[in-house]
Symmetry: C2
Subunit: 601 residues, 2 copies
């Protein structure tokens, strides 16, 4: 089987860079040890090798599609995948023992899901979506809702979904119009339509549980009037059976990629017989959903990194096996061609991918770690983790998806003409990855969130938290002679980021929020370079510690040298573009705030 | 019908920026005038509107595919497209009157083909490939070959192809092994295999004329032993008929994009009955082929620009029609949503596309103009055109295809989730475009050509020619107050490019060609930014002249203001990344010249 991820890198992140062991000191995770974690992710790998990766191509070539009369055809293997993943607790692994879970950290859950994402990203989506939907019911639902919905969701028999987007609203959740009318029986009558609902209908599950944003009849306009409901396709009856709940799948979307992953159009209450149950308090739906959205954004970022990882591995293998051409200076045409990995340009393309992929994955693991720390702390102890996670979430989502696209494109380029054919998987990775910059808030939305909300929240406390963490890494790195140069560069780049933000801030302070936010996406790009440079320096510190100790019991010497090398590569080839972003941001004038748009003709 | 290109921009390039009128002073083109040219490209637009664009999606969804027994199925519309294009002289338009041509400049031919590329890039390939193959026969073949092959090719009945790539050789033409054994009857026996042959077999033509690189039995190894042959699928008989020439299509490649365009695997002489005719002199095949390759590289660059243009137009239309969200600072949720084109981030994405697309197309037109000047000049008069065209060819190919990918990706992003669905064309443009950085020499190959050959050729004379042309534009621009700032910036960027090249040159001079060339692709990226900045300044000068004259007889005032605006946008948002490239290039150390590759694990 082809290699689609690096288990070595995954273990390096878990144990050497992000110190999962520290979590085991908290009671909730105290039952775990590194050997168990290793066994679990090895089991996940075996599952992915057996059930997921071999069907990656086939599930693309036989895509899910609307089959009429509310039905969506899905590949038969999907049921096997969901059921076996559920059985290995990869739906409910993070939940407490008393709910049948394993009290796993998100770091472990997402280490396993990284493997699934790299093996078969379309199939993985179904599983993690159920996990996320279940969490909303768990955290905010009544015990009745929990008892009704969680067991079949954890078994993989019922599919969870998030139903937010409506045809007329798109990214603007303010404009949601799905209506929930209260009854005296404890449920609401639901009426409305949702589009782009992932996993909203397919053949691998018996029932569908839609965590749905709707407006209670008479609620105030805007975001504040939005509530959260659980709306099953089939509702449980008093007798323990199920009856149809008037949730109809009216169609699906055929897509550029992720063709294994159903994208559906749902109609609630066409026959005025759709019931929904309020989750939590009225009018607070959006704040609950944002908890799931934040988790989903990390998940999307990590998926992008994982798909790009698989593309990287495919192109690395090809570059080692394919001989072509000779090195510059070699004029003898009778000399045999060299493997293309010996060409400098191919090494550049491979190191670029490695730098993007492993850097993104490290940032995702940092976020997973922070989510775990939030789970086991509260109050003032929780606050620094929360602040850091708040500011990193839009960045991991955006850097990984935007640069992941570029990385997968380089994977195609390494293969040349073959990479463009369906005989190799890289073109599928390229197609699958392209949605990640759109899912769960586009890059533009993430960038507004970063610059408009996260940079300014709590009087800049999130940015301060980030700066403090980066500073710790810089000081640790500066103690290693081989890392001093890059430690100094990162320090300078952090100062540039702060200075740029202060300059931009003048627009916000002078009452011009539109100008402040106009180039938010460029600011996001800049922040992405800096934050990934931090992750690389952090990885380099871990690698240098192992090299200094000459401890090669778990990883080889060249593995650690590869981390130092790739860190140097990132600082040299990628990071200089942060300064270019700053130049863009600080330039005077306004070119993208036209009232009239004829100049675009 | 949706708009897929800007005829206004095309006319602006032809008449106002690149002065096609100047060509009419040469005898070969003296029969032309601007009105005729306008009529011709309007006819091409009508043909594309009727025959090509309406089938763009359908030909993707019903792709060409191998049907067994040497046959390749193609969409029935393809025959109509090729025949009607042939009838409008869009295969042979550039050829002399006595061959049935119209003695058109390449500027006109490629203005029409830009429209075809934007309308239906897969279909367009068949047409221009026949034009190019015919040129080799015309320029180097005997009169017998010309009389035999050109008429049916010009009629669109016989398809021309270029057959270079072999399974074991890929980009390394040195390693070609197809053998041509001389006979006493004037032809050669051919034996060998070629892969990735575009248009090598389909249902729209009666015969196929493969311009093929092969090695005459006993020829010296390496590039010098390669000769050019014309090898038809069916060879003409003495009686005026055709007989099978043992050219067998053994299969095809299914691809990420350009699914309307057949990519075939050909076997020559499986039954020892394949005849080929030498074109030109023995062992000079590669130099002939490079003439066609250079033309094809401009064509690929232009195609990339054209496809990105179509994607831009689709996203521009969507952004005007789709309402969603409100502007920053607007807190009232009862206010109606605004068209998304009013969001600064959407304007940024649109101007980025416009800057890339129109800049690329302008550079392609510059190259077309130079090819025309070369056609009507010789000796010392020809030399400056030749030098400039040599240095610009790899740049137009690479900038347009690499940045075109980014541009088409932004088109998807403007549409958000809808852009990822097959209901909109932007995902097809994204897929189709991705091959352009691979066709006719990958970006890596182009970059080696630029840095290793073009920058140093004739003692740097090509670079000097480029610098002189850019300097003329700078000085012209500096005379307009509104363009002075950018004129100064371009001057500084040219100095930076020269300085960077001199620094790199030290590696070449000290006998380290591998290091000199290691980051050739980064140098290419830098050169691309600078050259496109030049094109934008050139366009801005033309626009400013019209604005100063207040002459809005052919284009509107806002059209010209849009050129100035987009020029400013390119200088502000894109050009700063040239400095980042320079920083990468000048950094010390070597990170991509590893002998062993374990660090990539």
């Amino acid at each position: 089987m082809s290699r689609y991820t690096s288990m070595e890198h995954l273990r390096f992140l878990l144990f050497e860079v992000h110190g999962i062991q520290d979590l085991f000191t908290y009671e909730y995770f105290a039952h775990l040890d590194p050997e168990q974690v290793t066994l679990m992710i090895d089991s996940a790998k075996a599952l992915a090798d057996r059930d997921m990766y071999p069907f990656f191509k086939e599930m693309d070539e036989q895509p899910v599609h609307y089959a009429g009369e509310g039905k969506v055809w899905s590949h038969p293997q999907l049921r096997t995948i969901i059921q076996n993943a559920a059985e290995q607790n990869w739906i409910n692994g993070q939940y407490p023992f008393d709910l049948g879970g394993l009290q796993l950290p998100q770091m472990v859950y997402n280490a396993a899901h990284h493997i699934f994402q790299a093996a078969n990203n379309g199939a993985q989506g179904y599983i993690s979506l159920t996990t996320g939907a279940a969490r909303l019911i768990h955290d905010y639902g009544t015990s009745e809702l929990i008892e009704t919905f969680l067991p079949p969701m954890f078994d993989g028999r019922w599919q969870g979904t998030m139903a937010l987007t409506e045809p007329q609203a798109g990214s603007a959740l303010t404009d949601i119009t799905t209506v929930a009318t209260p009854t005296e029986s404890g449920y609401y009558h639901i009426k409305g339509q949702k589009i782009f609902i992932s996993a909203g209908e397919h053949m691998a599950c018996e029932n569908f549980v839609h965590l749905t944003l709707a407006r209670i009849a008479g609620a105030p306009p805007g975001l504040k009037g939005v509530s959260l409901f659980v709306i099953p396709k089939h509702r449980p009856t008093a007798g323990g059976g199920l009856e149809y709940n008037d949730v109809f799948c009216a169609g699906d979307y055929q897509k550029l990629g992720q063709r294994a992953y159903a994208t559906t159009h749902l109609v609630f209450g066409e026959h005025d017989n759709c019931r929904g149950w309020l989750v939590g308090e009225p009018h607070k739906g959006l704040s609950y959903m944002f908890q799931l959205m934040n988790e989903a954004r990390i998940g999307v970022g990590q998926t992008a990194a994982s798909v790009a990882m698989a593309a990287y591995q495919a192109s690395l293998q090809y570059a080692r096996e394919r001989s072509q051409g000779r090195k510059p200076g070699e004029k003898d045409p009778l000399k045999p061609p060299v493997p293309i990995i010996q060409h400098a340009d191919v090494q550049r393309m491979l190191f670029t991918q490695k730098a993007i992929v492993e850097g993104s994955l490290s940032l995702a693991m940092e976020c997973n770690r922070l989510a775990d720390l939030m789970h086991v702390t509260e109050g003032e102890e929780q606050r620094p983790h929360w602040l850091l996670l708040e500011i990193l979430t839009p960045i991991v989502k955006t850097y990984s998806s935007e640069q992941g696209n570029r990385s997968a494109s380089l994977a195609i380029q390494v293969l040349g003409g073959y990479g463009y054919t369906v005989d190799f998987p890289v073109q599928q990775y390229y197609r699958d990855l392209r949605i990640m910059a759109i899912y769960e808030g586009t890059t533009g939305i993430q960038s507004l969130d970063l610059l408009g909300r996260k940079m300014t929240m709590e009087n800049g406390a999130a940015l301060t938290a980030l700066a403090q963490h980066i500073d710790i890494t810089i000081r640790t790195a500066a103690a290693h002679p081989v890392l001093q140069a890059q430690a100094a560069i990162l320090q300078a780049e952090m100062e540039r980021l702060g200075k740029t933000l202060r300059q931009l801030g003048k627009f916000a302070q002078s009452g011009n929020p539109e100008r402040y936010l106009a180039d938010a996406t460029v600011f996001m790009e800049m922040a992405g370079y800096v934050v990934i440079a931090w992750q690389w320096l952090k990885m380099a510190v871990a690698a240098q510690i192992a090299l200094d100790a000459a401890d090669f019991s778990t990883q080889s010497k060249s593995f650690y040298e590869g981390k130092i090398h790739t860190m140097q590569f990132f600082f040299r080839y990628e990071l200089p573009h942060a300064a270019a972003c700053a130049e863009v941001l600080l330039a005077p004038g306004e070119l993208t705030m036209l009232e009239e748009d004829e100049r675009l003709d």
